[in-house]
């Protein structure tokens, strides 16, 4: 059997590293990139010096300041992050065409066909990125994506200094299961923060515990997902490295300045989000079959609900009506909401046969075409539905 050589590369404290490049005085300072503590800002990322003091990303900035009163807050320069990210991705694409970018600061590389050893390629890549962009990164090497990513995480989390880890960790081919076995189950993809206590309760503390459960037992406990999870626990993953489909979904979301529980406002927000998503779909010549609602409660717990249609749509009202149905499955009056999101997925550019007897669809379509046309020529605020005019105090 031929093993693949997969690298997982992760830029260390990316936003902070970029901020340090922009402002060298930040070096060694306890600081965090994120929003203001007065409103609802959270920590996007923080320096390793801050991490040592217990600050972590997604922590509300207020909490972070309580914990470390001297914490310096830096407001993010997101355009710069994008710029540096592109520089790094260019270097990666120069190494191999088989690059899969998974976020602004993370990517997989398939270097199976390169003659050098994985560790040597990783070291050369780390140096080149350092030389050309001055950014630190950590790299995990394994025979598949799953193990390579976990290797990066382990390498980074075992670093306790206050610089950046710049770690490289290779899991030798054939030793995947052995490497994973002692690790806590939270490291495994697909379990999630909320899942960890449940798994521990069932008696699975390490990934090895999962891997060695006899067939059938895990199925009884968690259902269909068991076989996937057992494969992962054994370090098996045959997904190729490659560009995922161009666009999988189109979404818009809003975080409220203050948690809201007013039904009218919630519904109006969802209607506006639905209209935005539908407009973007139409502009790109797309329509979708799956409508998804995202809702986040004040304690950050986030839920999604979705439904699918046999026929794809890009109509504001169809999307909004479905979103309302989904909302009322999950939200009851009095519940406070922190964030709302609307997404349309299962996208297609395939044309559908219009009906000659049911012309409501065509009428709506003509109306939307006319509205989109006006929006494009005179700006998005130039035309609104009647219900928005009533709602709008302006």
């Amino acid at each position: 059997m031929r093993y693949r050589k997969i690298l997982h590369i992760d830029l260390d404290a990316f936003f902070c590293s970029v901020e340090e490049l922009l402002n060298p005085d930040l070096k060694g300072v306890v600081f965090a990139v994120g929003g203001s503590p007065d409103s609802r800002g959270v920590v996007s990322t923080c320096s390793y010096a801050a991490r040592k003091l217990g600050i972590h990303s997604a922590m509300p900035m207020k909490t972070a300041l309580l914990k470390v009163p001297g914490l310096k807050i830096v407001y993010g320069h997101y355009k710069k992050y994008q710029f540096y990210s592109e520089q790094v991705m260019e270097i990666l694409c120069d190494t191999t065409p088989l690059v899969e970018q998974i976020s602004i600061d993370e990517a997989f590389l398939d270097v199976t066909d390169m003659p050098q050893k994985g560790a040597a390629i990783a070291a050369a890549l780390q140096k080149r990125i350092r030389d050309e962009t001055a950014l630190p990164c950590s790299i995990g090497i394994a025979s598949n994506k799953l193990v390579a990513k976990i290797a990066t995480n382990i390498a980074k989390s075992s670093y306790h200094g206050d610089q950046t880890p710049r770690a490289i960790l290779e899991v030798p081919a054939g030793k995947e299961a052995e490497f994973l076995a002692p690790l806590p189950i939270k490291e495994l993809w697909g379990i999630g923060k909320k899942g960890v206590p449940q798994f521990i309760k069932m008696g699975y503390t390490t990934i090895g515990d999962l891997a060695k459960t006899p067939d059938g037992i895990l199925e009884k406990q968690i259902g269909q997902f068991a076989s996937t999870l057992k494969k992962r626990a054994a370090g098996m993953d045959d997904r190729p490295v490659g560009n995922e489909e161009d666009i999988k979904s189109i979404s818009n979301e809003t975080t409220f300045g203050k948690d809201i529980d007013d039904e009218v406002e919630i519904e109006r927000t969802l209607r506006q989000l639905s209209e935005k998503v539908a407009y973007r779909l139409r502009q790109q010549g797309l329509s979708g079959k799956t409508i998804r609602l995202k809702i986040r409660w004040p304690d950050f717990e986030t839920h999604t609900r979705q439904l699918s249609f046999p026929q794809p749509t890009n109509h504001d009202t169809v999307i909004y009506q479905s979103i309302l149905r989904l909302l009322h499955e999950i939200w009851k009056p009095g519940m406070k909401v922190r964030l709302l999101g609307v997404a349309v997925a299962t996208l297609t550019t395939t044309l559908q046969q219009l009906s000659i007897l049911d012309t409501r669809y065509q009428k709506e379509d003509q109306l939307l075409q006319a509205m989109d046309d006006i929006k494009k020529r005179f700006g998005k605020k130039m035309i609104k539905r009647g219900w928005d005019v009533q709602d709008d105090p302006e």
């Binding site: 139409r282 010549g285 797309l286 329509s287 026929q311 794809p312 749509t313 890009n314 297609t348 550019t349 395939t350 044309l351 559908q352 046969q353 219009l354 009906s355 000659i356 007897l357 049911d358 065509q362 379509d365 003509q366 075409q369």
Partner: protein, 375 residues
């Protein structure tokens, strides 16, 4: 019952009536064909209670009588016999039919003819006379547009309206409409407005082979049936009860772009495009482009992510602005197959409103077709 018939005639007659046999009937007698002597001829009848077909063939009758015989066995057997005279003799005591032909001899068990549902006898005095070749053409031009969706029974039918010495057939499956009008040679006494299953009309078109004859159509009051009588055959169809869509209100009356294309060329372009289009939801795009000088052009394009793409360009007379519109290519082919004039007009307004297709120089037929559009 004792009679002789010619094997080819019997086989042909069985080929016609067996189309009304329901293959999955729970009533055993409906799996059978009725054989009955009838004024010097042999009558063959089959019915599935929605559609009944009777065919008369010439016979030498020695003894009157009737019996029903399992359709499948009987027609398979007759089809396998040599092309000679077939002698049929019924043993009334055992209800067994003896079939003798040359050196072949078979006995087939039947069911008493009394159990066979009676076929209505039409009162031909009140019939509407229809010319066979005209009526067959009408059926062919219209019935393909009917729906095959059992959830919408009304759309599985063809709307027939007779009045003012004119007969109109119309069908729609919700995506297209076909309408054909023809004048009647003899005036009708009372107007008719019924929905006939498209399947029944297609069977009628199949049976009516002799174009010189006429069909008499009778719709007996309150029976929910229509009877079509030919010289040696009869078809009875249940009517569909329900409200047919007001198709006249849907047919667009004015158009921005009129495109005249040679029918054969139009058909060829669609045939070619269909080979790719059938891989991707049958979508073909027509880019209708008028030109300053000379005739305009229509570019047919098709694309399938897996299979590839293609374009066919045709010259056309275009009156009106440019338009890019997409259609289901099989719908286009269906209608072009029933247009016999050399040129065809496609009249359109927008990429999401119905288009109209009709033969140039023949006002009696029109077809409305809804485009395909990003859903």
């Amino acid at each position: 019952m004792k009679l002789s018939v010619s094997q080819p005639q019997l086989a042909h007659g069985l080929g016609i009536v067996t189309r009304a046999v329901s293959p999955r009937s729970t009533l055993p007698v409906l799996n059978n064909i009725l054989l009955a002597t009838d004024e010097g001829r042999l009558r063959l009848s089959a019915t599935n209670l929605e559609l009944g077909i009777t065919k008369w063939i010439g016979a030498q009758i020695q003894e009157e009588g009737s019996i029903t015989i399992p359709a499948r066995i009987f027609s398979d057997l007759i089809g396998a016999l040599p092309g000679n005279t077939v002698d049929l003799t019924l043993n009334t005591r055992t209800q067994t039919l003896n079939i003798h032909c040359g050196t072949s001899n078979f006995d087939i068990k039947g069911i008493d003819a009394q159990e066979f549902p009676p076929m209505p006898v039409p009162d031909l005095q009140n019939g509407v006379e229809l010319n066979i070749s005209d009526f067959k053409e009408m059926i062919q031009q219209v019935s393909f547009a009917a729906s095959t969706d059992e959830a919408r029974p009304v759309l599985q039918g063809v709307m027939m309206e007779i009045g003012n010495n004119e007969i109109t057939l119309a069908a729609t499956d919700g995506f297209r409409i076909s309408v054909k009008k023809t004048s009647l040679s003899t005036p009708v006494s009372a107007p008719v407005k019924v929905i006939i299953p498209a399947r029944s009309l297609s069977e009628l078109a199949r049976i009516a082979t002799n174009g010189d004859e006429t069909i008499s159509m009778v719709v007996p009051e309150g029976r929910g049936q229509a009877i079509f009588h030919l010289k040696d055959a009869e078809l009875v169809s249940q009517l569909i009860d329900g409200k047919f869509p007001d198709y006249n209100a849907i047919i667009p009356r004015s158009f921005k772009t009129n495109t005249t294309i040679t029918t054969v060329e139009f058909q060829k372009a669609c045939r070619q495009a269909e080979i790719i289009a059938r891989e991707s939801n049958n979508v073909i795009r027509m880019h209708i482009q008028p030109q300053e000088q000379g005739p305009g052009i229509v570019e047919f394009s098709t694309q399938s992510e897996e299979r590839g793409s293609g374009e066919v360009v045709l010259e056309a007379n275009i009156d009106g602005p440019e338009l890019l519109i997409a259609f289901n290519v099989s719908y286009l082919l269906n209608v072009l197959d029933v247009i016999s004039t050399p040129n065809t007009i496609l009249a359109t307004n927008a990429d999401n409103t119905p288009g109209l297709i009709r033969p140039v120089g023949d006002e009696s037929y029109l077809h409305v077709i809804m485009p395909m559009h990003l859903g």
